[in-house]
């Protein structure tokens, strides 16, 4: 492998590149989909190839190919250099890379059971059994289930002297039950609260989907007769199964440095967290702390090294409610706007990347992608029951459903899988047609209670989109249940 990688690095140097890296990677996926008693599809996919990234007099160039041999690597590297040279004509400021150490290392997702070696029959039987158990519940009309498995074996080398071999696994089993009332012409769905994880097949076994199925099915049926919510300002208690996505959208994306400076303006958008707010903006209440990492066990974004060859690490984005930092890559660290804003705010100097560079395939150009981002647990002992007991007029919301946020991450609207009314400290019944709408800063400043570490749980997204052409990133977010005061709750019921 090193022989092939060195061809790219040497060819790039000879052609005038001051920096080059090559990723040779093999991507394997397995996707099993079922509904009711039937397997809809079993599909396996393998994709092998390489991508070469070069920096020529401060301008990036990239090219890739699925043919992995010496001649092709040399040819494609020359093409990447030619692209950089063509673009240099209309460039302004040269790209500057933050320093990085040279590493020779291997890393592997800590898995106990390789999901690709588990017999296909076992996986199929599990999903069909889930469907069967769900459909035993009276009123449950349909059950769809799936299992996604991913492995990415990546060999990275750069002209900094780094050679890395990383082996990443992710897995996601899930099912959805639909209850249909044909007489009324209505239907409701409920999705199991199982989210993807950087794990082996042991994650599937731990989740006991079969025993979960009747409960999810019963919830779908119950939703049909739930009371439509009365809109208004209410206290909302968000379960980790719901709050992780709110963190992802309202904290994760606006703290991407490329967005904040305008690099994603044409697609994903910019950020209300402009650099002048770093070290100055009270983004949340005093109890709100957000830490970022690419190191946590089970995290979907966890790896040993990023696609810049930087060792992954942990750092804070928000401390005691104060917004203090961004997510960065090597080519972002020395952006003057970032450095000047840190200096102006009296924040410590940053001279290394946080290691958040990622390309979702050998054919994709790596760029800044979200690490795992978590809400710290509350420092005081507080359970979910305590939170509910302490709430007079509120709604307890679980699960991921409709979610939408504007291109600068101010205004968001989220829904959920289940909504339970809380009156005078007690859950009084199920509601439907609920969504909460808020402004990010007001929302996090209205957070007045966060449960302690016993209730901290991590969920995540398998597909987080960004960039043009679009790339997908997997990322985890951990949090405990938390309460937010006087949030705008709307009724989403409608007739046409």
């Amino acid at each position: 492998m090193r022989d092939l990688q060195d061809i790219a690095l040497d060819t790039a140097r000879s052609a005038g590149a001051e920096y080059a890296d090559i990723r040779i990677s093999n991507h394997r996926t397995q996707n099993i989909r079922t509904r009711e008693e039937r397997v809809q599809s079993v599909s396996n996919r393998e994709s092998f190839g390489f991508g070469v990234r070069v920096l020529v007099r401060g301008t990036w160039g990239f090219a890739s190919s699925h043919v992995v041999d010496k001649n092709e690597i040399a040819k494609v590297t020359k093409r990447a250099v030619a692209i950089a040279k063509a673009n240099r004509v209309i460039q302004n400021d040269p790209v500057i890379l933050a320093p990085v150490k040279a590493y020779e290392d291997t890393w592997k997702t800590p898995i106990k059971k390789d999901p690709f070696t588990v017999p296909l029959e076992d996986k199929i039987n599990l999903l069909l059994k889930v469907n069967e158990e769900a459909l035993k519940i009276k009123g449950a009309s349909f059950c769809n289930s799936f299992m996604l498995i991913m492995n990415e074996r990546k060999y990275f080398a750069s002209t900094e002297g780094t050679y890395l071999d990383q082996d990443t696994y992710r897995i996601w089993p899930q099912f959805t039950v639909t209850a249909v009332d044909r007489d009324k012409g209505e239907f409701e769905t409920c999705i199991s609260e199982i989210y993807p994880m950087g794990s082996g097949y042991e994650f599937v076994e731990e989740n006991e989907m079969v025993s979960l199925a009747p409960e999810v099915a019963s919830t779908a049926v119950e939703k049909l007769s739930a009371r439509s919510v009365d809109p208004g300002k209410k206290d909302i208690i968000l379960d980790p199964t719901n709050l992780w996505l709110t963190i992802h959208e309202s904290i994760g994306h606006p703290t991407e440095l490329d967005r904040a400076l305008g690099y994603e303006a044409n697609y994903a958008g910019t950020s209300f967290l402009t650099v002048d707010k770093m070290g100055k903006l009270k983004l949340g209440s005093d109890i709100v702390n957000f830490a970022a990492d690419k190191t946590i066990e089970g995290g979907l974004a966890s790896v040993g090294y990023d696609d810049d060859g930087e060792k992954t690490k942990e750092w804070y984005l928000v401390k005691d409610g104060l917004f203090i930092d961004y997510q960065t890559t090597r080519d972002q660290v020395f952006w003057p706007e970032y450095q000047n804003a840190r200096k102006d705010a009296g924040l410590p100097e940053v001279t290394e990347s946080y290691g958040t560079c990622y390309g979702d395939s050998w054919s994709s150009i790596p760029f800044q992608r979200m690490p795992n981002i978590h809400l710290d647990p509350g420092k005081d002992r507080l359970s979910l029951d305590d939170l509910i007991s302490d709430t007079k007029d509120g709604i307890y919301i679980t699960g991921r459903a409709s979610y939408s946020i504007d291109q600068q991450r101010y205004n968001f609207q989220f829904s959920g899988q289940t909504f339970h009314e809380v009156k005078n400290g007690k859950i009084t019944g199920m509601l439907k047609d609920v969504a909460y709408q808020a402004n990010t800063k007001e929302f996090w400043n209205s957070c007045d209670a966060i449960c302690d570490e016993r209730f901290w749980k991590m969920y995540g997204s398998y597909y987080d989109g960004k960039g043009q052409p679009g790339q997908s990133n997997a990322v985890s977010h951990g949090c405990p249940p938390a309460r937010f005061r006087k949030v705008n709750v709307i009724n989403t019921g409608k007739t046409i």
Partner: protein
């Protein structure tokens, strides 16, 4: 990698000859694309991608599975065949298995342009310059994307079906912002033909919107008449199209389901001025001649004068209901009027003009209620003129409500793979304000 028709046929036949499956299908796809991203008035990334995929679907009786690889050496092909066969044998019998299609006749469509196939990093620099120069000249900040793609697709199966086609696509989009971040305008252009993508004209439109959207006034949220520009119409209406799955409708879990059972075929589902079709041979949005399973693309009326004429049927659901399979819509053509967006503005007493929509998600699939936001140029129109920019809104609205309240439409224009008009509708629910620019 692009494979010619003869090379595709040879590779497909080779793979089919290696399998012992009762039935098999091979799909080949690949291509070469190039893209350039720019932001802050400079190129940020630029690259070429070369891709290739072989997918084998094998069936023993009604047990089936599929696998994809991207290597063509004999060992990789042998592994593809054996692994696919093994997975298929483990799969349970599929009560909905439909045998492979035999030979088909396809529409003569060539969605291919030589200029796109020949495009390079240098040609992208020219297009990018057309975006960056006027932005710099106007002291504005440009961020955008220019890409071209030349690809091929081929399908062949053990029942004798074979199809091959090459296609090209090119697109450009540009978001121009004022330096103080108070104004933002977007415009784009796309074509099968790279030489017809007008980066300069799109950038000019984006600049106008950026300048005129600065210092937007606040218009209180509420239900207002709306003029959705073609991009906003395409953004929203695709959800009405996605929902037209016959099986979901028959199963009672769709807007197109009928109370008491069945679906709404033959019923008035929107205004009598609405007609939506798939027209793969339409010269402005040439579709692809066949789907992945080899089913030919065909002209289909989905909604005619507001009446639901067709839902899309996959091969199994079509067989079960004894109707012809439509396949997934090959493209979307909404029949428009004759004028321009400017004509709609001139004809409006009061309306909110929307450039494009963002982060659209289902809120309630039963009513196709969607939420999302306006973006990059939202204006108040009064007495036939754009009066001033307004702050962006979050909306909670169904495309079906819009289609039931369309008062006027412009001529339809190409937006990606669709041909859609701008629409002037009498009501649209702008639910809350967004501070985003």
């Amino acid at each position: 990698m692009i494979l010619s028709k003869s090379d595709s046929r040879a590779l497909i036949e080779k793979i089919l000859s290696m399998t012992n499956a009762d039935e098999a299908r091979v799909n080949l796809s690949g291509g070469r694309s190039g893209n350039t991203r720019f932001a802050l008035n400079a190129i940020t990334t630029s690259g070429d991608e070369d891709t290739f995929t072989i997918t084998l679907r094998a069936a023993f009786g009604s047990r089936h599975a599929s696998m994809s690889v991207n290597q063509t050496d004999d060992a990789s092909l042998e592994s593809l065949v054996r692994k696919t066969e093994e997975a298929a044998k483990f799969a349970p019998e599929d009560p909905e298995y439909v045998p492979e299609l035999g030979r088909q006749n396809y529409l003569s469509i060539k969605p291919f342009s030589r200029s796109t196939a020949r495009a390079s990093a240098r040609s992208r620099v020219k297009g990018t310059e057309a975006a960056l120069r006027p932005a710099r000249r106007n002291d504005l900040v440009s961020a955008g994307f220019l890409e071209h793609d030349h690809s091929f697709s081929a399908v062949g199966n053990s029942a004798g079906l074979f199809a091959h086609s090459e296609s090209t696509d090119a697109s450009f989009s540009n978001t121009i912002r004022t330096k103080d971040g108070k104004g933002s305008g977007w415009a784009g252009d796309s074509s099968r033909d790279f030489s017809k993508v007008d980066c300069g004209d799109a950038s000019k439109r984006a600049i106008w919107k950026s300048k005129h959207s600065a210092d937007a006034n606040t218009l209180e949220p509420g239900i207002y008449p709306v003029i959705l520009e073609p991009q906003a119409v395409a953004d929203l209406m695709r959800f009405a199209a996605y929902a037209m799955n016959a099986r979901s409708a028959d199963e009672g879990r769709s807007f197109y389901s009928k109370k008491g059972g069945g679906n709404k075929l033959g019923e008035q589902v929107c205004g009598t001025n609405i007609t939506i079709r798939s027209q793969p041979k339409h010269p402005e949005i040439l579709g692809f001649p066949f789907a992945g399973n080899g089913l030919p693309a065909k002209e289909i009326s989905w909604i005619e004068n507001g009446i639901l004429k067709n839902l899309y049927y996959d091969r199994y659901w079509a067989y079960k209901n004894n109707v012809e399979s439509t396949g997934f819509p090959s493209n979307m053509v909404i029949e428009g009027g004759t004028g321009s967006v400017e004509d709609l503005i001139r004809g409006a007493k009061k309306a909110v003009l929307v450039t494009r929509l963002w982060y659209i998600r289902f809120v309630d699939p039963q009513t196709i209620l969607m939420t999302g936001l306006t973006r990059d140029g939202t204006f108040l129109v009064e007495n036939g003129k754009i009066k001033h920019a307004v702050k962006n809104f979050r909306f909670n609205e169904s495309p079906m409500t819009v289609l039931n309240n369309v008062e006027n439409m412009s001529k339809s224009v190409r937006v990606g793979g669709s041909l859609v008009p701008a629409m002037h509708a009498s009501q649209f629910n702008f639910a809350s304000l967004s501070d985003a620019v």
